[in-house]
């Protein structure tokens, strides 16, 4: 049902202009770029390497925003309970959190989509087998998976990514399969099958594009969820190491300060997370509207 836009333009050009037609989304996109740039450049723009214990001293702990550190620099947004400059800590933390969130999201998505599509398309015994596996998987509390992995492998970024992938893939699989089953029943798939197109082509060229909308919805939710889950695991004491805190660890530590009057320790890491996740979601939202063939204006 799509109507072709009157102007002559490439599909990508149309995508870009559609995307930036929404001011809020543009804002989100710019914000996300800014955050990523800050995170990538962190070692060059922060006054302190918060992971180098030689540079951190407890004598700087819990200082309010604007205080001067012993080393001479100004702590723009204060310091945390062990003396880390919060600005430095947040940027370094962002690096870890983004890595964890994006890596785990992408891996889980690829895994989940492959499994979900296969289940929906093949159907029958394979389908029920896979979906039982998915059920099983979803019954596994993420805290338990993380705790087990930590015990076997030790804390660390790799392990938390692994844990988050294992926690998330089933969501994608379930959602993709749900939508794909409906799609499979539609005429265009039957038509494609009648034309004798290969399975792989039908799956990836015909069914998958039509599942994109829910995948993006789940994907944005899950990326946000991954970052939040990492924070939650840290809150429960089984996340990332304390000495190299991610954003999640900073928030978890900061939450202990909610009632203490030292608002900056709990508030700023939260703000950083909020901005990150909101910008990811704003972009994701707009992507969904723009990419969905059925929503074309």
């Amino acid at each position: 049902m799509k109507t072709v836009s009157p102007k002559e333009e490439t599909p990508f050009g149309r995508f870009v202009s559609d995307f930036f037609a929404n001011k809020v989304a543009t804002f989100g996109f710019l914000l996300l770029i800014l955050i990523i740039v800050l995170a990538v450049l962190a070692p060059w723009i922060t006054p302190q390497n918060p992971y180098d214990l030689k540079q951190v001293t407890v004598m700087d702990s819990s200082m309010p925003p604007g205080s001067e550190a012993l080393a001479g620099y100004t702590m723009l947004i204060g310091s945390d309970g062990v003396g880390r400059d919060l600005f430095s800590g947040i940027l370094y933390g962002l690096r870890i959190s983004l890595t964890v969130g994006i890596m785990s999201g992408v891996i889980a998505m690829i895994l989940g989509i492959s499994v979900g599509l296969t289940a929906a398309y093949v159907g029958g015994r394979t389908d029920s087998l896979i979906m039982r596996l998915v059920d099983l998987q979803l019954s596994f509390p993420s805290a338990l998976i993380a705790l087990m992995l930590i015990a076997i492998l030790g804390k660390g970024v790799d392990n938390i990514i692994l844990a988050l992938v294992i926690v998330q893939w089933a969501y994608y699989a379930r959602t993709v399969r749900g939508t794909a089953i409906v799609e499979r029943g539609k005429e265009y798939v039957e038509a494609a099958a009648c034309l004798g197109l290969p399975h792989r082509r039908i799956l990836f060229r015909h069914i998958l594009p039509n599942c994109i909308a829910p995948i993006i919805v789940v994907g944005t939710v899950q990326t946000a969820h991954a970052i939040g889950l990492e924070a939650t695991l840290s809150f429960l004491g089984i996340g990332l190491p304390q000495s190299e805190p991610s954003l999640g660890v900073l928030i978890a530590n900061g939450s202990q300060y909610l009632l203490s009057g030292k608002y900056w320790i709990s508030v700023f890491p939260g703000v950083a997370l909020l901005l990150t996740v909101v910008s990811i979601n704003l972009v994701g939202d707009q992507l969904r509207d723009v990419l969905n063939p059925r929503l074309q204006k």
Binding site: S139, L144, L147, R174, T175, G178, H225, T232, I251, N281
Partner: protein
Amino acid sequence: MSVLVFFGLNIIGDPVYMLVSPDADQEDIDRVIRNLGLDRPILEQYVLFVKGALQGDLGNSFIFGESALGLISRHMGATLELAFTALFLAIAIGIPLGLYAGLYPNRMSSRVIMTSSILGFSLPTFWVGLMMILIFSVQLGWLPSTGRGDTATFLGITSSIFTLNGLSHLILPAANLALLKVSLVIRLTRAGTREGMQQDYIKFARAKGLSTTRVVGVHLLKNILIPIVTVLGLEFGSLIAFSVVTETIFAWPGMGRLLIESILQLDRPVVVAYLMIIVALFVVINLLVDVVYSILDPRVRLKEQGK
């Protein structure tokens, strides 16, 4: 899967060293290990566990010394009550807001709804929970901060839903648990609505001159409910399993909190029993989801039969 958990928890550590009093000497420690049956080879422990499980006995909690199943079932009511309330809140708030935002995507209020929904799942549950306590209990003094209120029994169900005091205790944790789901429902409903409104059957229905209420309430809603039911089916299980955090913050005496404490204390029988219960619950939920699914979407049912 019980194998995985059983052996997994064994790898992690040994609860004994954490349980015994620090005054205990090696002899005491060895005796506790024997008492708990942890001196046997792990395979033998597993065989014993399976034998017991076949007779409906999942073992005794290391910490509480009581049957693990009994312990969990005593905590289950509080969690189910919390999860159902949260689910109800998610649907009652999420669907109307999502429909509105989907039907009138360009209104200011719709944008506000969507932006708030993003906020809803952008912050970690524990942070939001603490903020809720901060605002509604400490600052405004409207609602109790923690714990479960008085319970009453109605139609054979004992729940704190039936007392005013109970409800007042329930609101904050349920809202906290529902928050992420509300956002999810809003987004799914809106996405479905926007897509649905462009579909041919809606256009035909409108062309036929059906009222907007009927078009939205019957034709549209029926179709967008499919993904919502699927997702909520999954989410209900996760509401129960992941109520861990909410229960920890609000000191809610449910089985989620029991689980995380059991994990942290390596109370293996309780963790294994919990997982088996959750698995059973999930299978049931998924069956229900599939049934509702086929009721809502006859195409699925017809296809299955057509094979």
